[in-house]
Every structure is written in structure tokens, then in C-alpha cells.
Symmetry: C2
Subunit: 405 residues, 2 copies
């Protein structure tokens, strides 16, 4: 069943493709998407009524594009709130720093008035560029949005959380901000480039174990901080088994004590890995009320709402016509590798050059390939039972459109 992406955005960027499918594991789709034009007011002069999205962006606005995917868990509430809120948080955060973004190098003082004549030199020595302000705005927007979601969920008596993957095209650069296990890749004729990395209990093991080491009370005596190859049991007592602690990337042996038999803070491998036996991701928005089943142990202290931001300098890319960015929730990447997706993208775009809707068709085709109905192009016939959402963003049209700014 195809469902339209839930979005209140008036100005859908015509040139990107989008597909979303509900695996029907829940009544409402836990995947949510949003995209639209981002209009950032360049001066405080003449503030009128607050307009969420402007279709006409006059000179005093800096314009960009925004795409976002949210993969909910524990219900769709957090994902819906994020889809309705994050772009406003981002716009607000960007408006705070937009003056600095317009300069060749952000000034030490936002007023532009140097307190100290060597201020520009310090900014240069620290290597601070305009793009660092956009990165900072994305980081702060995720935090602000997480606070909003926490308040809204509490006020409405709802629960849940979501991952967030955001792409913003601004001033010739594509910023990809990720908190969770969605993924964005750049697909070109002869290159695949990762634009995000995943944050799961496994990839963030040391950060999570470190927190439990610092605040052991967070585990309430119910979990062990240590990692073992499998959960230990009575028979293991007194034996020397493989383990690792927060400070270790390598492994060592320790003699099993009774406390090691507790349930592990992080347990399982790959897609089965869980934080406190509960969550498969270690970053995202929401989950303020989430507790381990039948306990008072909170998940939130272990979760980060901060994204990792990567920057793609599109203006420096020597763009080719079919260069696209593919953003998708884990439902896609669980069954198709980056290489398989790139093969599908390249062959589809080469074969459908004249179709004006080819990016939308491509997004739907990628989703179709996760449903295993005809074995898919991969021939392996892996099937996704998860919600799947995909954006296909053609870079050449973004770059052309923004040429005037």
C-alpha cells in the first residue's frame, strides 16, 4: 500500500522522487517524511506574520531545500511531530546565524564590529568557515526539536521515538545530518560515497558503556556494563571468558563473577543488537518516557539527539546528469547493499532518460525491490518486513536551481 508522505509543506521540490510504503506492522505508518523549500530571513527588518514556508522568496531571503526521513518506534507520534517541527527549528536556528553565513568567513562577533583588531585572524586560525555555522544550526535544531517532542508527547499523553535523517541543500552544499540507522549515499556513474553512518548500540558501544561506568545507578543493578560474546549463565561462573569494557576496542579474558550473569547493557549482533534489551538505535528524537519493561530504568540518558553532519560540496563535484543522493530508512538497507542500490539506480536512470517522473519512479522501484515479489534485481529475494521510505534527490537540478543565489 502506497501512502503519501505526511507533510504540510506547500512547496514540494518538483524534481526529487519520493516513495514510502507501510509494512502494515502498525495501523499508522511509523515512517514519516517531509520536504520543502527552506526560506531563511536574512535581516530582522520587517518581521511580519510568521510563515512556515514561503513559496515566493524575495531578495531578503536565503533559500535552500530540505528533505527529512523519520523512522518511528513505539508508535508514530514522535515521527509525526518531528516531520511537522524539525524544519521550523532548523529555519529558526539558521536565522540566528544567517548574517555570519553570508560572509566569506563568519565574523567573530555577529554585529560585525570587531572588539579586537585580530578577531578575523583567530577565526581563520580555528579554521571556522560559513559551513560550520550550518552544521552548528543543524546540531542545535535537532536538540531543540527533541525538546519540543518531549513537551508535546508529555502534554498529549503519547509516547514513542524516531530516528532522523535530514538533507539540506544550501549555498551550493548538501548537508546530511543523521541520528539513527537511516542512511544517505551519493550514487554517481563511477562512485558510491557514504554521506552518513549509522548510530546503533553496537556502533556506539564505547560511549554507552562509558556512561554506565560514570553513572552506574542508571543500570539500577539490573544490567551488566560489560560485553561478552553471548549472555552468560550459571555454568560460566568461575571460568575465564572473553569480555570488553568501555575503554577497550580489543578483547580480554576475565573470571566470571555472579554480577556478570546479569542481562548485558548491549546485547545481540547486527540488526538484533539492543540497548538495555529495548532499542535498536542509540540516537534519535523522543523516547523521553521510555523505560525498560517492568522497571524504572530509563533509556533516554543513553540516547543522543545530536546528529552527525557530513558536508558534500556539490559545486566542486563536476556534476554529471544522473548524480543522485539516495536517502532511505533501514527497511531499504537491511535488504539491499549500497552496491545493489547503485546498480539499480544507474540502470534505471540510463533507461528512463526522457521520463519527467523518473526520480519518483526510481524511488518506487527501489521500494518494490525490498518487497521480494519477483526476487528483486539482486536475485537474492531478500524481503523487508519494515516500513520503507526513500528519497531520490537529483543533484544537478538542485545546483542549477540555486545558481541564482
Amino acid at each position: 500500500m502506497y501512502v503519501p508522505p505526511r507533510t504540510s509543506l506547500r512547496d514540494w521540490p518538483m524534481l526529487c522522487g519520493m516513495g514510502i510504503i507501510n509494512a502494515e506492522k502498525s495501523e499508522f505508518n511509523e515512517d514519516q517524511a517531509a520536504c520543502g523549500k527552506l526560506c531563511i530571513r536574512r535581516c530582522e527588518f520587517g518581521i511580519e506574520e510568521d510563515q512556515e514556508w514561503l513559496t515566493v522568496c524575495p531578495e531578503e531571503f536565503l533559500t535552500g531545500h530540505y528533505w527529512a526521513l523519520f523512522d518511528g518506534h513505539g508508535g508514530p507520534a514522535a515521527a509525526i511531530l518531528a516531520a511537522n517541527t524539525l524544519h521550523s527549528c532548523l529555519r529558526r536556528q539558521l536565522e540566528v546565524v544567517v548574517e555570519g553565513m553570508m560572509a566569506a568567513q563568519p565574523p567573530m562577533h555577529l554585529s560585525g564590529r570587531c572588539v579586537c583588531s585580530s578577531d578575523p585572524q583567530f577565526v581563520e586560525e580555528k579554521g571556522i568557515r560559513a559551513e560550520d555555522l550550518v552544521i552548528g544550526a543543524l546540531e542545535n535544531a535537532f536538540q531543540e526539536c527533541d525538546d519540543v517532542i518531549g513537551r508535546e508527547l508529555e502534554a498529549s499523553g503519547q509516547v514513542g521515538g524516531c530516528t532522523a535523517l535530514v538533507a539540506v541543500f544550501l549555498q551550493g552544499k548538501l548537508y546530511v545530518a543523521n541520528a539513527g540507522d537511516s542512511r544517505a549515499i551519493l550514487v554517481r556513474r563511477d562512485e558510491i560515497r557514504l554521506l552518513s553512518s549509522e548510530f546503533t548500540p553496537e556502533t556506539e558501544r564505547q560511549r554507552i558503556q562509558q556512561l554506565a561506568f560514570t553513572y552506574p545507578e542508571l543500570l539500577a543493578g539490573e544490567f551488566t556494563r560489560l560485553e561478552f560474546p553471548r549472555r552468560l549463565k550459571g555454568d560460566d561462573l568461575g571460568q575465564k571468558v572473553l569480555f570488553r569494557d568501555h575503554h577497550m576496542r580489543g578483547w580480554s579474558y576475565k573470571q566470571v563473577e555472579k554480577t556478570d550473569l546479569k542481562y548485558p547493557l548491549i546485547h545481540g549482533q547486527g540488526r538484533q543488537a539492543r540497548l538495555l534489551g529495548t532499542l535498536a538505535v542509540s540516537r534519535g528524537l523522543g523516547d523521553h518516557q521510555l523505560r525498560v519493561l517492568d522497571t524504572d530504568i530509563q533509556l533516554k540518558p543513553f540516547l543522543l539527539s545530536i546528529p552527525q553532519v557530513t558536508v558534500l560540496d556539490v559545486d566542486q563535484l563536476a556534476l554529471q546528469e544522473d548524480d543522485v543522493v539516495v536517502m532511505a530508512t533501514d527497511g531499504l538497507w537491511d535488504v539491499l547493499s549500497n552496491e545493489q542500490v547503485a546498480l539499480l539506480v544507474r540502470s534505471f536512470l540510463t533507461g528512463n532518460r526522457e521520463d519527467p517522473h523518473r526520480f519518483s519512479e526510481l524511488a518506487k522501484m527501489l521500494i518494490h525491490n525490498t518487497q521480494g515479489k519477483d526476487g528483486g534485481a539482486s536475485g537474492e529475494g531478500q524481503v523487508s518486513y519494515d516500513d520503507v521510505s526513500v528519497f531520490v534527490i537529483p543533484l544537478s537540478s538542485q545546483a542549477q536551481e540555486s545558481g541564482g543565489h
Copy 2:
């Protein structure tokens, strides 16, 4: 002034080259070095007198090679202790896990007796390899050595700390463990590969700010956790200035408050960057008693004694005759780039193929190039006023020598 490396090792690996120079900024050399054969007892059977280093290694011993550089600060005491102690800690840590290292895959239980028939499967799923035990042993050895140094310094009323860069050749692999700002690189005919990265207040900014955020009392109200382009002063009050906090890789603006005028937790750029106005490195051994001048603020909570370990699979390298690893303290890298060092290494080795002492001569030549007496090969004539220590390790002879094991 050339001084022999301070080492108690009986069995100097003949084939590597070593140079060390005292910049005479202190009476005793703050750079210390150690190297030798590492003999790891393979079974507990027949433990006799404890021998630090064995020149004859019979069958029941696994042998490797060990090289280490320690760059001291606040006096040579910690560096001397580390040079005398770390190899023993490492040998002890390796002996604990050596049984597991000899297996194709380390067993879940050190006894080899499976408690659960699927134990090997869990070890495989976690991707645990024999080399992970060596990495774990190096991580634990650094911690153990740091504890020993803390006790010894206190007992003898001495002070000081040191960085530590260790290379271990074992079972066809080179392990490089680094805590501090020394560096190891692989130089081949057509490749330069970094084998370590530096740990300084700048490279570890987020970890250090995070700790100050978690435990604000560590700053005793004397420092600000935030980073600014320069130290703020009264004139900046009320202005919006660039800053970043622990959760940010990007930058943002904030209105300056009185508390922002305090001295920054991390201040300065590049070689001038300092932690709490005191230390230029953020990892290393020792410094248990170090406090910020005229205060009770301790440095140690912000320092890590854990190294980052990289593994070079020498057996997979298709070794060429002149492939070498260059290990050196920051005195070398401050004035010569990786590329400049690689050029010097390649031209020297090509021109001195017959010299049996060519690796020692090369190490001395590299040090000579930091003294700027004749402008150096770089032509830029940069001069190091720091102690400089260099190991040049030819990989082909290590691999040959270990062929029998």
C-alpha cells in the same frame, strides 16, 4: 649531543635504527626509548625465575619485538619509569591471553572447554580475532603501567608525565599503540600510511568538554568549558560571539555572559593548544599529581592512559626491501611533514643499500634534519628546539626473522 637510548634491554634488535637527541632544555633527556625481544611464555608449566627478557627463546615461548618512545614533561621521571616498566606490563598481559592468541579464533573460554556448544559461533558473530586479544593486552598494559608509575612517583616524591608510542611485531602483524602526540608512519616506495593519530586538547576537545559538562566541579569555577575563537575580555560582554560546546562539531553564536570571560578549558591552536592552560597532550602516562598552577584543579581526570591501537598486517603487504616504519616524538613532526620524512627516507635508503648500519644512519640523519644547521633537505630550515627521538624499523627483516614462528 647524541645520547644512547636509556634502556635495560639485553637483546637490542640489531636491524632497526635509533637516534635520540637532547635539546638540552633540561639536564636529563625527557625523551626515553626502549626496545627488545618480547618473549611470551606459552604455558604455565615450568615457571622458574622471572626473566625480564630472554635472549634464548625456546619452543614454549612466543616471541615478538617491541619498540617504545616516551616523551616526558615536568621532568624525565615518568618517561624513565615507562621505559623500564611498560614492556613487563605488556608481557604479563599477553601471557594472560596467549593461549587464546595461538588458536585460529580465540575460544570463548580460556580453558578451551565449551560451556555451550554454540560458543564458537558467538565468537565468530562478534568478529573476535586473535589480534583483538593483542589490542586488548596493549590497552590493559598501558593502564597497568600508568598505575605503576602513579605509585612509584608518589613513593619517591617525584612528579611528571609522558606520552607513549609503542610498536609490537607479533605473529606477522605490527601493532602500533599511541597515547599522546608522537607519531608512527609506514614509508614505502609509493605509499605513506599513517599508523597512529595524535591525542591533543584540540583533537580530543569533545571528550574533554563532555567530561567538564558531566562533572562541572572539576573546573572549580575557574575555567569555562566553552570554546571561543580567542579568550574573551570585558569588551565582549553582551556581544554575540562564535562558540561551541561539547555536543557540537559546528559553531554557533551566543551572547557573552560574565562566566564566559573565565580562562577556557582548552585554549590556543595547533602546537600552542593547552588543556587547562597547562598540558599540550590529552593522553599519556603519569601526571597523577599535576595541578593547574596555584590551584587545586587536577589534570588527571581529563587525561586518558588508554592508547589507540592500529594493526598493520605485514604478511599481507607484499613487502619491498626498503619498507620501513618511522616512529618519532613530536620534535620531528613539528618541523618535518610526513611527505618530507618519506622523501628523506627513500633517497637515503636507495643511496645506501650496502651500508649495514643504514637504518641507524637514517635515524640520525632525520634528527640532523630537525636541527636546521644546513637548512635541511626540506630547504625550509625549520628548527626543532625539542628533544627528538626516532626509530626506523625495516619491515622486511622483521618478517623474515619471525618466519620460523
